[in-house]
């Protein structure tokens, strides 16, 4: 169990309750790094979507949370990993409205819009890792396409 107030942590994602811990941790960590209220809310919401994907589609996994810094700008990096079936078609999975479960299909694509950097590593059969990063004062370089 992480110490109260720490930013770095690795949290398990195996139940509903774990989603609540993930959200609480991300909010605390973001607040501690100096994220504003709207930025905190976006990051927590993105974390909630991604953690739920890890739980529902990946069969459980974990979130690693770490502070990062680039050019003096602090940021927060979250990596959600599972050892589930993987995502066969990433393009499709990122499209709004696409759902393989019972959700609204906004999770992955929506989460991508809420963070500054977004990367997926997934191969069928070997799990999925989604890594997102947000910076306290906006991305330090021009926004990428998409």
């Amino acid at each position: 169990m992480q110490t109260a107030g720490g930013v770095s942590a690795c949290l398990p994602i195996h139940s509903d309750l774990d989603l609540v811990w993930v959200r609480q941790h991300v909010r605390q960590a973001a607040a501690q790094l100096g994220f504003g209220l709207v930025a905190q809310t976006k990051l927590v919401t993105a974390a909630s979507e991604l953690a739920r994907n890890t739980l529902v589609h990946g069969g459980g996994g974990q979130m690693a949370c770490a502070p990062v810094s680039r050019g003096g700008v602090p940021g927060l990096r979250l990596a959600f990993s599972d050892e589930g079936p993987g995502i066969p078609d990433l393009e499709q999975a990122l499209r709004d409205g696409y759902t393989s479960g019972e959700g609204l299909g906004m999770g992955l694509g929506g989460a991508r819009r809420l963070v500054h950097e977004f990367a997926i590593d997934s191969r069928p059969g070997s799990g999925t890792t989604v890594t997102v990063t947000s910076w306290v004062s906006g991305p330090p370089r021009p926004r990428e396409e998409k």
Binding site: V20, R23, G103, L104, G110, L114
Partner: protein, 139 residues
């Protein structure tokens, strides 16, 4: 995993009946299970007692993700079939901004700035359904 933190909503969200309106106040961080339970409770309460509206107060909620968004939409859809209208009240600006970026605009849900205003909205709607949408400043 018990006892380390004050337990986030593990239990039930109370559904209060005030006149012919159901009032639900959400606070803090909801478990998925609690949200699903709430959806069922509201539908049952709306079916059991004839109500004309449901007010869901979100002023204490720090985050609405697509799961909770779906729960709110489902509550609105179900209560509409039972001839009642759902009004979401007091959503925080940060939550609203995030929802739109996430891609959820919650069609079908009416909104109000506070529970008070939501109740007034529902009251007006019953008197003059055609003008229920106009917002009136209280004197």
């Amino acid at each position: 995993m018990t006892g380390a933190f004050p337990s986030p909503y593990g239990g039930q969200v109370p559904v209060l009946r005030i006149g012919d309106v159901l009032l639900v106040t959400l606070q803090g961080d909801l478990h998925d299970g609690t949200a699903e339970q709430l959806q069922q409770d509201v539908s049952e309460a709306a079916a059991d007692s004839r109500v004309k509206g449901v007010v869901i107060d979100l002023s204490g909620v720090e985050m609405v993700d697509s799961f909770l968004g779906r729960v709110l939409s489902d509550i609105a859809a179900k209560t509409r079939l039972l001839a009642a209208e759902t009004v979401v009240a007091g959503m925080r600006p940060a939550v609203a901004i995030t929802l739109v970026e996430l891609g959820l605009t919650l069609p079908g849900l009416r909104t109000a700035l506070s529970s008070d205003e939501a109740l007034r909205l529902l009251g007006e709607a019953s008197i003059s359904p055609r003008h229920g949408r106009t917002r009136q400043e209280s004197p």
